[in-house]
């Protein structure tokens, strides 16, 4: 192969019409093959997917009491209303993408077994042996756990779940856009 190629180059020093045409032919074949390869891979990337749109409307803000956590399971979103305002969590485990489930008690089994659980950086709450129960999320796939505000505290999850944008739509309902990720300080005040 390499020897053939070298001969091709050496021949090209005294290029004949025949060798020029052979080279041009092979070059054309190579380019056409590369284009065909690109096309066959590009073909597999859908331009439109008809999946559920990332933005959707939830209930009006008044439907969520202060201090409440509401799971909208069809959309894989959580609406939290804390004293500072509203925020929404993308309910997708940051480990490998399963859907964590809400539990009123996500900590006591660990705490009573002696596992140290970090203080929740958002709420400042900590589960201790004296009061071991904190609400949160547990992922059914590999056991990651999150505080109610999406901060991970146990299992393989590498980081907190994403928080996404919330606003009030013109009709007064909450408009949640799962494609816009916001930082932890985000709150919607109503």
């Amino acid at each position: 192969m390499a020897a053939d190629f070298r001969r091709l180059i050496e021949d090209s020093r005294e290029m004949t019409r025949r060798s020029f045409l052979a080279m041009a032919g092979w070059a054309g074949f190579t380019v056409a093959s590369l284009i065909a390869l690109y096309q066959s891979i590009r073909w597999l990337y859908p331009n439109a997917t008809y999946e559920d749109p990332p933005a959707f409307k939830a209930d009006p803000p008044s439907a969520y009491a202060v201090g409440s956590t509401t799971v909208i399971i069809d959309k894989r979103v959580v609406v939290n209303h804390d004293p500072n305002g509203f925020y929404a969590i993308n309910l997708i485990c940051t480990h490998l993408g399963c859907t964590p489930r809400y539990f009123p008690d996500a900590t006591s089994d660990l705490v009573l077994a002696g596992t140290q659980i970090a203080k929740d950086p958002d709420t400042g709450q900590q589960a201790t042996k004296a009061s071991p129960v904190l609400p949160g999320f547990k992922c059914p796939c590999h056991g990651s756990r999150y505080f109610r505000d999406a901060v991970n505290f146990f299992g393989p999850a590498p980081r907190p779940m994403d928080r996404v944008h919330v606003e009030v739509a013109p009709d007064g309902k909450l408009l949640i856009d799962r494609s816009v990720i916001v930082d932890r300080s985000f709150r919607l005040k109503v």
């Binding site: 990337y45 859908p46 997917t49 999946e51 490998l96 993408g97 399963c98 796939c141």
Partner: protein, 243 residues
């Protein structure tokens, strides 16, 4: 009477001609005829003309390659049966799987044959690879066939993975969510690979269809072609067993 006798004779000669048109050398009564029969018959020529008893000693090969191929045939046939009742769409797949299990006559038998043969094939292919490794059968001049074998292992595992999604129950959806999210962790190409694999951002209709097409056409076809090469090389490179 003689008319009937003539008819029977005629029938025998027609059948005889049909048989000899397939097997040209008559009954394999001698080694020479047997060898010629094997050489000139498409199905039989997959076998070497001569095989030494020691080459295929059960305690050496454990018949693992043959078992893997046998299971592949079982999976092809039962898979074909399943395709008559299974529609790869998120609206139908789970219900079709339930129907196969509980409504279709012998559906449970066929589905379970497919399921257990699939599990067994993964095991026998791994064990076959372990046997080849432990007996040193991958060494010169059989390195190329070891390479083909690793590709066949990969295809076996991908068949197992793609088939796992098809029942479309919670276990399969989240297993594939997890599996394709692992692909996403790869540097640079990761997210593109996942999008290409499942044809979107979540495991949905596109993912089911893609996995189905790969499971019933793409991967078996690639596997079949590699098996042809694999078996051919086993013959041509020679058996690794005793002399």
């Amino acid at each position: 009477m003689s008319v009937i006798r003539a008819a029977i004779d005629e029938m025998f000669s027609i059948v005889g001609q049909m048989v000899t048109s397939v097997f040209r050398h008559g009954l394999p009564l001698t080694d020479k005829i047997a060898a010629r029969t094997a050489l000139t018959n498409f199905v039989l020529h997959i076998h070497p003309v001569r095989v030494r008893r020691s080459w295929i000693r059960m305690s050496y090969t454990l018949c693992l390659g043959g078992l893997s191929f046998f299971l592949f045939i079982v999976l092809t046939v039962t898979g074909l049966y399943l395709m008559f009742y299974y529609v790869p769409s998120t609206n139908h797949a789970y219900q079709d799987m339930r129907d196969l299990q509980f409504v279709v006559t012998f559906g449970g038998l066929i589905r379970n044959m497919h399921r257990w043969a699939a599990h067994a094939m993964v095991i026998t292919v791994w064990l076959h690879m372990a046997r080849v490794f432990l007996t040193g059968a991958y060494k010169k001049p059989r390195e190329f066939n070891w390479g083909v074998g690793t590709l066949l292992l990969l295809i076996t595992l991908l068949l197992s993975f793609t088939g796992y999604l098809l029942p479309w129950d919670q276990l399969s959806i989240w297993a594939v969510t997890v599996g394709t999210n692992m692909a996403k962790y790869a540097p640079i190409a990761g997210p593109y690979t996942r999008y290409l694999l499942i044809g979107g951002r979540v495991v949905g209709d596109n993912a089911l269809l893609r996995f189905y097409v790969l499971h019933v056409v793409g991967l078996p076809l690639a596997g079949f072609l590699l098996m042809v090469v694999h078996f051919w090389r086993v013959r041509k490179d020679g058996f690794s067993g005793g002399l």
